[in-house]
């Protein structure tokens, strides 16, 4: 998925694992360009940047050096580089962890940062503004791409750590020399020679999305060697000439496999070879003199390969459906758009700085259990009825419907009405799963009740995951935990406690 978890090395420290790179013109101010990199797949709310990694976004001016099957984008040697470093943690007076950092700008100026400061930090001239902190993951993947089966967004409710750099386009990019650029992001560890050899050049880098996880490590190609760490050790804009044939062959083989995923060949071998050549130069192309919108991603590459002048600024916006744009192109060469099972990420991007949506609240979990001195089936016969009124806080239960999807309305002894829906039940395995429809200050509530054998008795597990609404996480957890414990404790006198 995009560049998330793209190789054993980047998995070692998630804060060094780049998930995505973006390049677009600010929707709030067309005179400003935004570059952003995300790291740490599925970051929790306390996630922090590594204090020894150099988080960098590098941009080079690019020229079109060939079209059609000879398509080629040639980067210049000069690099415009934004480089962020972070410190170890400090504590505020309340003991909360604070992380500060510094962003070195292309002209050598330094901008001090505080992680998660919503407004970011600007230079005194206001030409550059930088944000670093937790945001909702803007990437979405809603496919089982190996078999082209639509799924809900696999990254729903996840967060990432974002670094967003917004700058005055003319001041930083010098458009007199051209407006087409290539961008990469990289995570660079300390360049200290180890005892057994030189330090690795980088943990991870990314240009276009899915270079590693889809094009170099195609899930449909079984038994292939994992080239992702080797790729991640390449120098951006200068992939080893010795290794280029290896990567090129993999890109061609992979593309041919994607082409046949729907059973229909849409690509000629020559076109596949030309596209692989373009992908081998892995940088995110964007032209700041042309419009960049949610649909312009990869248009520069596609038009150039087709022998036409490109019309848009390419790039990649926060809300670009990059996976479906890429998948459609690889599988059917834009014959028919392949729309996955989701039309957007958990939250859409924002039109103003820092452009990436606020982080998602973490799902909370409550789990309680009791060990009983009774056969699992005996206990299940009582509590395994979705409409069973065995809980001491229940006054009455009203049922609507039957089977999966049936609703139970619980009338509690203190007068509340809670409506829950049966989602799954398995009497053989003695469990059911349900969701809350109404009556509790929660959303995304899923509960499970299960009876498992243990020794000569059994264990009853009752769990729930939820997002608190109109209440604190802690308050909801205490309330649910008390509810579960009260119910489970009521089983002890009836069935006996396991010793």
């Amino acid at each position: 998925m995009s560049d998330h978890v793209d190789g054993p090395r980047s998995i070692g420290d998630p804060a060094a694992d780049i998930t995505d790179l973006f390049a677009f013109v600010s929707p709030a101010n067309p005179a400003r360009t935004v570059l952003a990199m995300d790291v740490f797949p599925s970051a929790g709310e306390d996630a922090m940047f590594s204090n020894i990694i150099d988080y960098a976004i590098a941009v080079r001016r690019v020229s079109v050096a060939g079209v059609g099957n000879a398509a080629k984008f040639q980067p210049e040697d000069d690099e415009i580089r934004f480089s962020c470093r972070f410190e170890t943690l400090k504590r505020d007076t309340a003991g909360k962890a604070i992380q500060c950092g510094v962003c070195q700008l292309p002209d050598g100026r330094e901008l001090l940062l505080t992680v998660n400061e919503e407004k970011g930090t600007s230079t005194s001239e206001g030409d550059v503004r930088v944000f670093a902190g937790l945001r909702s993951d803007p990437f979405y993947l809603a496919w089982d791409i190996g078999i082209l089966k639509k799924l809900p967004n696999l990254l729903q409710h996840t967060n990432v750590l974002s670094i967003v750099v917004e700058f005055d386009t003319r001041r930083v990019l010098d458009l007199a020399k051209g407006s087409l650029f290539g961008a990469v992001a990289e995570t660079v560890p300390p360049q200290k020679r180890g005892l057994l050899g030189p330090a690795i050049s980088r943990i991870d880098w990314v240009g276009r999305p899915e270079q590693t996880n889809m094009r170099l490590n195609n899930p449909a190609m079984s038994e292939i060697n994992d080239l992702r760490d080797l790729w991640n050790q390449q120098t951006p804009f200068a992939v080893s000439k010795v290794l280029q044939p290896l990567f090129l062959q993999r890109l061609k083989d992979s593309h041919a496999t994607w082409d046949m995923l729907d059973g229909k060949p849409d690509w000629t071998p020559e076109a596949i070879a030309a596209t692989a050549n373009v992908f081998l130069d892995d940088f995110l192309l964007f032209d700041v003199a042309k419009p960049i919108d949610d649909r312009s991603h990869l248009e520069i590459e596609k038009s150039t390969l087709s022998g036409h002048p490109y019309q848009t600024g390419g790039g990649r916006t926060v809300d670009a459906n990059s996976i479906d744009i890429l998948l459609t192109w690889l599988v059917n060469k834009d014959r028919e758009f392949l729309l996955g099972g989701s039309t957007g990420a958990t939250k859409p991007g924002m039109k103003v700085f820092p452009y990436f949506a606020t982080p998602n609240t973490e799902l909370q979990t409550v789990a309680e259990s009791v060990e009983l001195a009774a056969a699992p089936d005996d206990v299940w016969s009582l509590i395994g009825q979705f409409g069973g009124a065995w809980h001491p806080l229940t006054a009455r239960i009203e049922m609507t419907g039957a089977g999966i999807g049936q609703l139970r309305t619980i009338l509690t002894i203190d007068g509340r009405r809670i409506v829950e829906r049966l989602e799954a039940i398995d009497d053989a395995k003695r469990f059911f799963r349900y969701t809350n429809i109404a009556g509790m200050a929660v959303s995304h509530y899923t509960g499970t009740l299960e009876v498992r054998p243990k020794g000569s008795g059994c264990v009853v597990d009752w769990r729930a995951q939820f997002l608190a609404a109109n209440n604190t996480d802690r308050a909801m957890k205490v309330m649910l935990s008390t509810l579960f414990k009260t119910g489970l404790d009521s089983l002890k006198p009836r069935f006996g406690v396991a010793r």
Partner: protein
């Protein structure tokens, strides 16, 4: 927790241990949240296993095993693919339920799991149980030749240490340490801890100063490394540095590992603070009892050591040591059982010689 020493300049750099621990917890919770949304999401159950094992190993949180058991149970219910038995095998193996783990692996093999995945896990189980040492050693060397990575070198070092080839083990651990080129502090702290164990407990003539050096480095990489703190505190206490030992243990109390309270009690006794020590001992005893009730095999060896020492119940210690040997008849487990059997024989014979248990241990 505060680091007592910074890694020296020759040591590999790593992300600050406090940040890494926060990010581990962050990744762990993130993986659980994704699992809650859809237990079948690719790679998520496996990611939970990885993060919970790190939490157990490095942060000393024994509740990680409870969470892993819940994961295995829930995942097996939802997933009908070969992923479920592979996850169940990992979880059973983590809880030292090796017979169960082998059963899950056999089922995974029947369902067509890749040979490499089965063999890796089976090898780890064989090593943990001390069986087929020559075959395990050959396989470990093959892995090391293929990757040269720390993740393969440290298990080879541990095996060599089990086989009492201490000089080779030391060299392999140091090679692992030097070969490391990532930035996570967990593998480095783990390697330092293994070197501390090697020199502090496994070699015939332990060298507490060398062991302390490596434990200190482990704590410097990862201040919340509970086991390293406990072992370093033991060394300090044996050298009369009880204040340093106490300072190491106090921040680790919140981990939930009863061994912290046990060692703290020993330190308090050495300081003449017997009332406080008694409270800590009671808490340690209660902690071990609760863990043994839920995960007998996972904690049998540590609990045996506790009851043979400050826990003051040699019969229980011997029973646990025998349970451990029956589960994993390694040289170390057998040695421990023999030592406890001798101790138990002495302890019981002092009160009533007719109750002296047999020293013989059947593996």
């Amino acid at each position: 927790m505060t680091a007592f020493a910074e890694p020296d300049r020759a040591a590999p750099s790593a992300t600050d241990g406090e940040i890494a621990a926060i990010n581990l917890e962050s990744a762990r919770r993130g993986a659980w949240a994704r699992f809650a949304q859809d237990p079948l999401l690719p790679g998520v159950a496996e990611a939970i296993v990885d993060t919970e094992r790190l939490v157990l190993q490095n942060l000393g949180d024994p509740a990680a095993i409870d969470r892993l058991d819940a994961l295995a149970s829930q995942f097996a219910r939802e997933d009908e693919s070969l992923r479920a038995p592979l996850v169940q095998a990992e979880v059973a193996s983590t809880a030292h339920r090796f017979a169960d783990a082998r059963g899950h692996l056999a089922r995974a093999a029947q369902m067509g799991a890749p040979r490499a995945a089965i063999e890796r896990q089976a090898l780890a189980i064989d090593q943990a149980c001390g069986v087929k040492p020559d075959a395990v050693l050959a396989a470990r060397r093959v892995f090391v030749r293929a990757s040269g990575r720390l993740e393969d070198l440290v298990p080879l070092g541990a095996l060599l240490a089990d086989l009492e080839r201490f000089t080779e083990a030391d060299a392999v651990y140091r090679q692992a340490f030097s070969a490391y080129d990532d930035v996570s502090p967990f593998p480095l702290a783990w390697t330092c801890f293994q070197l501390g164990m090697l020199w502090g407990e496994l070699v015939p003539m332990p060298d507490p100063d060398v062991a302390a050096f490596w434990y200190r480095r482990a704590v410097a990489y990862l201040p919340s490394y509970v086991k390293a703190r406990v072992h370093l505190a033991e060394i300090y206490a044996s050298q009369g540095r009880t204040a340093d030992a106490e300072a190491l243990l106090l921040p680790a109390l919140s981990s939930g590992d009863p061994e912290v309270r046990w060692r703290l009690a020993d330190v308090l006794i050495a300081q003449g603070r017997s009332d406080e020590a008694e409270k800590q001992l009671d808490a340690a005893r209660s902690g071990f009892d609760q863990l043994l009730e839920r995960h007998l095999l996972a904690f049998a060896d540590h609990a045996a050591e506790f009851y043979a020492g400050s826990g003051n119940d040699c019969r229980r210690a011997l029973e646990l040591a025998r349970t451990n040997v029956a589960n994993r008849p390694t040289r170390r487990a057998i040695k421990q059982a023999h030592a406890i059997a001798e101790l138990a024989g002495e302890a019981v014979s002092e009160s009533d010689p007719r109750e002296a248990p047999s020293v013989a241990i059947s593996a």
